[in-house]
């Protein structure tokens, strides 16, 4: 019974969040100065072609009718046809979302692992060499523009040292010979069984994932350090010290279980921001993810694509939030 209630509550919150998102996004795309019909037919087209495009897009209808029409379609899983790609939005998203998910997942695994370690060890000896290094890395990760870092890494590791392959998800040798079964290039190349394809995919993933990792790591390390330091000043930690516990014992046995929930939340938030915020990395590395898809759509006033993409990202946020809540609840129960 409890489980049903939780599931129901989750579904209601998902539906409300998405409805809110659709309303706001719809309003914003309609308020923006981009004219989707002009975008579609260009400046030279005749008045009748322009009018035909407006009608095809439903722009001649009053706004509330357009909105209701859209809601009806979206509810049935049809996000309509993208203006900027000419393809159904659902298939565009099915293609671009896995690309971003794959990149962000690899980046967050590396970023969380490194960031947590960095933050924890920095807090254990505040003011020490390790702390200084950690702070420098966080500062750089926060303040260096991500596209610049990406270009610089391409220049160094691809153009100068030849350690990594150039932009793209796969070498041209594999790109059009490996069938796209799942949309996750690591899985697809593995399943294809083509010699070298998986390694090629991995190599292509390395640079963009490292750039994104760096960005995630900076935030995670900083917040972890601050959290651990605060906890180390708490009475229970001081008591543990007074009893003669070494600093690593205080941190790993006493402090970390107490802040596990917050750490999970920090990592989940970083993950969520990578899912929608990877657009610059995707641009520099020619990575056909949903961030770039959405940005291009925005410039084209491509409302079906913008709404579809926003709903998918919104749904992932809600899902990630719920999973985090569950995980945090579990760690809290584990301590109790």
């Amino acid at each position: 019974m409890h489980f049903v209630w939780v599931a129901l509550r989750w579904l209601i919150s998902l539906a409300l969040t998405l409805l809110g998102l659709v309303v706001v996004t719809f309003a914003m795309t309609r308020l923006s100065p981009v004219d989707p019909a002009t975008q579609m037919v260009g400046s030279h087209a005749s008045a009748s072609s322009y009018q035909a495009a407006r009608e095809a897009l439903g722009l001649d209808q009053p706004l509330p009718i357009q909105f209701l029409h859209y809601l009806r379609m979206a509810a049935s899983g049809d996000f309509g046809q993208s203006i900027s790609t000419g393809q159904p939005v659902a298939s565009d998203i099915a293609r671009t979302f896995p690309a971003t998910l794959e990149l962000a997942t690899v980046a967050i695994i590396m970023g969380a692992a490194l960031g947590l370690c960095l933050g924890i060890f920095a807090a254990m000896r505040p003011g020490g060499v390790f702390d200084a290094v950690a702070r420098l890395i966080s500062l750089v990760g926060y303040s260096v523009p991500i596209f610049w870092l990406g270009l610089l890494m391409l220049l160094l590791f691809y153009a100068r040292l030849h350690w990594a392959p150039g932009p793209g998800r796969l070498d041209v040798l594999f790109q059009y010979t490996v069938p796209a079964r799942t949309g996750f290039v690591l899985l697809d190349t593995w399943l294809s069984g083509k010699p070298g394809a998986f390694r090629d995919a991995l190599a292509h993933l390395a640079l963009p994932a490292t750039v994104l990792m760096f960005y995630a790591l900076a935030g995670i390390a900083r917040l972890t350090r601050a959290l651990v330091l605060t906890e180390l000043g708490q009475e229970y930690a001081l008591t543990a010290y007074a009893k003669g516990a070494a600093v690593h014992r205080v941190v790993f046995v006493h402090v970390l279980p107490n802040i596990a929930g917050q750490l999970i939340t920090i990592c989940a938030l970083a993950y969520a921001s990578l899912l929608e915020g990877a657009v610059l990395t995707e641009t520099v590395f020619a990575w056909p993810g949903i961030g770039r898809y959405l940005t291009t759509a925005m410039f084209a006033g491509d409302m079906p694509a913008i709404l579809g993409g926003t709903i998918v990202i919104g749904a992932s946020f809600v899902l990630l939030n719920t999973l985090t809540d569950l995980a945090v609840g579990r760690t809290a129960r584990g301590r109790a």
């Binding site: 100065p33 981009v34 004219d35 989707p36 002009t38 975008q39 579609m40 037919v41 260009g42 400046s43 030279h44 087209a45 005749s46 008045a47 072609s49 035909a52 495009a53 203006i83 900027s84 790609t85 000419g86 393809q87 565009d92 293609r95 671009t96 060499v129 596209f147 270009l151 391409l154 220049l155 590791f157 691809y158 153009a159 040292l161 030849h162 350690w163 990594a164 392959p165 150039g166 932009p167 793209g168 041209v172 040798l173 790109q175 059009y176 390694r199 090629d200 991995l202 190599a203 390395a206 520099v284 590395f285 020619a286 056909p288 770039r292 898809y293 291009t296 410039f299 084209a300 006033g301």
Partner: protein, 530 residues
């Protein structure tokens, strides 16, 4: 373990991992039978020749489809046979009978029949997509087009038109990508809800050109496959992969490293740097694009005053913009027909002369300082050019208020006449002077969507002269008529023509046979070899 030891082990591990990664990233040139092109393909919407009107798709059509007639790839002013081996104009000058080349076949193996021609041209008119206005120039509409194109016998087709234009102009229209001939039998199988196969053709091809579309993934890549039945024999390379590389910096790295054979759309800085790099060469191809300042004469009394237009012509630092800002990506050009088109004017009578402009404004009693809204594309090189204009116009007391905006917004403002002055560019839609003349010098009564209409410039006399020029059959006389038209527009019009573009394409130096022409669609991959 000391800190130093830990550090050295950590560094060792990082470098070890990087090296292992490096080992798999074997560094190689592109495969010998594949051409890899790095550019942006984000603009591509439709590869249906009846719809595609974006740079990426327009550049693909000559490689995928053939038309009845085509422009010569070395001299675009010459029209030569393609699917039609011969043609004859009707006695009234308003019809053409074309003989189809009996040997012509589509990539599918189907022969090219009159039915294919009728299907292709009539679907393009009836679909009424962006480029449909080109065929509308012949007077063809959804209602009339069925009667205008008829099959004479199995190898002849006759086109008639109601518009007051001659056969030479009709032939020029037939060289536009929208007049591409599609394989009716293949497309018929893909028709959905009476869409003439439009949905399917957006991402597939059904032509007789040198290549077919193997796969197209939006925002990712267009992969072309050689057509073994191509006219003039199969192309030299098996595949052309046009990769979407949205970042220009990444594009430059790819061509430098030999992971791309051709790179397009690089900035002046990058071209400068690449000219010094071994293994690549920069090809500068004159393009038919012209950049111009458009003044809305209906915006207010000042902007509607011809003296303001004249003063504006002397407030542009033409040389500075072309030489310092665009460094080889454009040349100074001051008339509406680009160099390379019949009748183009090559002289440049205007130069920056602030004193003269001030005097013109004072003589006309135009009060300065005056503030002018100046919406500009939020992109380079437009913003740089706009800044140069802002600084020179300011010297005569005209304060251009730059308002960066997205292209569709600026076009929409033009369409509705809701702007004061803007910076725009024009690319001819087909290879005939009328493509430009009809835009800039036709506006009898604000009824058609021409640039002149967007400038609020009503010109019945110029309109008549433009319509007379398109009717003229003698090529030499026709060229003179266009020169006269351009001089009149230069003398007084709400346009200031500033530049003609030059397309800089970067190629690996082992590449041979790449050809690109003046017009946007003239990109040819069929004879490329390495």
């Amino acid at each position: 373990m000391s800190l130093a030891q830990t550090r050295s082990r950590l560094l060792g591990a990082i470098f070890g991992a990087s090296l292992a990664l490096g080992a798999v990233a074997a560094h190689a040139d592109t495969p010998p039978n594949v051409l890899v092109v790095a550019q942006s393909i984000d603009d591509a919407v439709s590869f249906d020749p009846a719809e595609g009107f974006e740079l990426t798709t327009v550049q693909s059509f000559n490689n995928l489809y053939q038309r009845l007639v085509q422009t010569n790839r070395d001299d675009a002013t010459k029209i030569e046979p393609a699917l039609a081996s011969a043609w004859e104009a009707g006695a009234d000058g308003k019809s053409l009978t074309l003989a189809l080349d009996g040997k012509a076949a589509f990539a599918s193996g189907n022969p090219v029949r009159p039915e294919d021609v009728i299907f292709s041209l009539s679907r393009a008119v009836k679909l009424n997509k962006a480029p449909a206005f080109i065929l509308n120039e012949l007077g063809w509409t959804a209602e009339t087009v069925d009667k205008a194109i008829e099959k004479i016998d199995d190898s002849h087709v006759k086109l008639t038109w109601s518009a007051d234009v001659g056969p030479a102009f009709a032939l020029a229209i037939l060289t536009a990508p929208i007049a591409s001939v599609v394989d009716e039998k293949v497309v018929a199988a893909a028709v959905k809800d009476g869409d003439f196969g439009n949905d399917w053709l957006k991402t597939h091809s059904a032509g007789s050109g040198a290549f077919v579309i193997a796969t197209y993934t939006a925002h990712e890549a267009l992969v072309l496959q050689a057509n073994k039945r191509a006219p003039g024999g199969a192309p030299k390379l098996e595949n052309v992969i046009i990769r979407n590389v949205p970042d220009v910096g990444a594009r430059r790295l790819l061509i430098e490293q030999g992971d791309a054979d051709i790179a397009r759309g690089l900035s002046a800085d990058q071209i400068d740097a690449l000219t010094k790099v071994k293994g690549v060469k920069v090809l500068a191809v004159p393009s038919a694009r012209t950049d111009y300042l458009l003044i809305n004469s209906k915006a207010n009394a000042t902007l509607g005053n011809p003296a303001f237009w004249e003063a504006a012509r002397y407030l542009v630092d033409y040389e500075g913009i072309a030489k310092d800002l665009l460094r080889g990506q454009s040349q100074v050009h001051q008339a509406f027909l680009p160099v390379g088109f019949p009748g183009a004017l090559t002289d440049t009578p205007f130069k920056l002369d602030v004193e003269k402009a001030k005097k013109i404004l004072a003589d006309a009693k135009i009060a300065v300082p005056v503030k002018v809204e100046f919406p500009v594309f939020n992109d380079q090189p437009f913003l740089s050019i706009a800044q140069s204009l802002q600084s020179t116009f300011a010297k005569a007391g005209i304060d251009l208020d730059i308002q960066p905006g997205v292209a569709s917004d600026i076009y929409a403002k033009g369409r509705s006449g809701n702007y004061q002055v803007t910076l725009r560019y024009w690319i001819p839609d087909y290879f005939d002077p009328h493509s430009n003349a009809s835009a800039f010098a036709i506006n009898k009564d604000n009824s058609a969507n021409t640039v002149a209409k967007q400038a609020g410039w009503v010109i019945p006399k110029l309109t008549d002269e433009t319509l007379a020029a398109v009717k003229e059959q003698d090529p030499a006389k026709r060229a003179t008529l266009y020169q006269d038209l351009q001089r009149e527009v230069q003398k007084s019009s709400p346009y200031v023509f500033i530049l003609q573009g030059s397309d800089q394409v970067v190629l690996r130096d082992n590449l041979k046979g790449y050809k690109q022409g003046l017009n946007a669609d003239q990109v040819y991959y069929d004879r490329v070899e390495k």
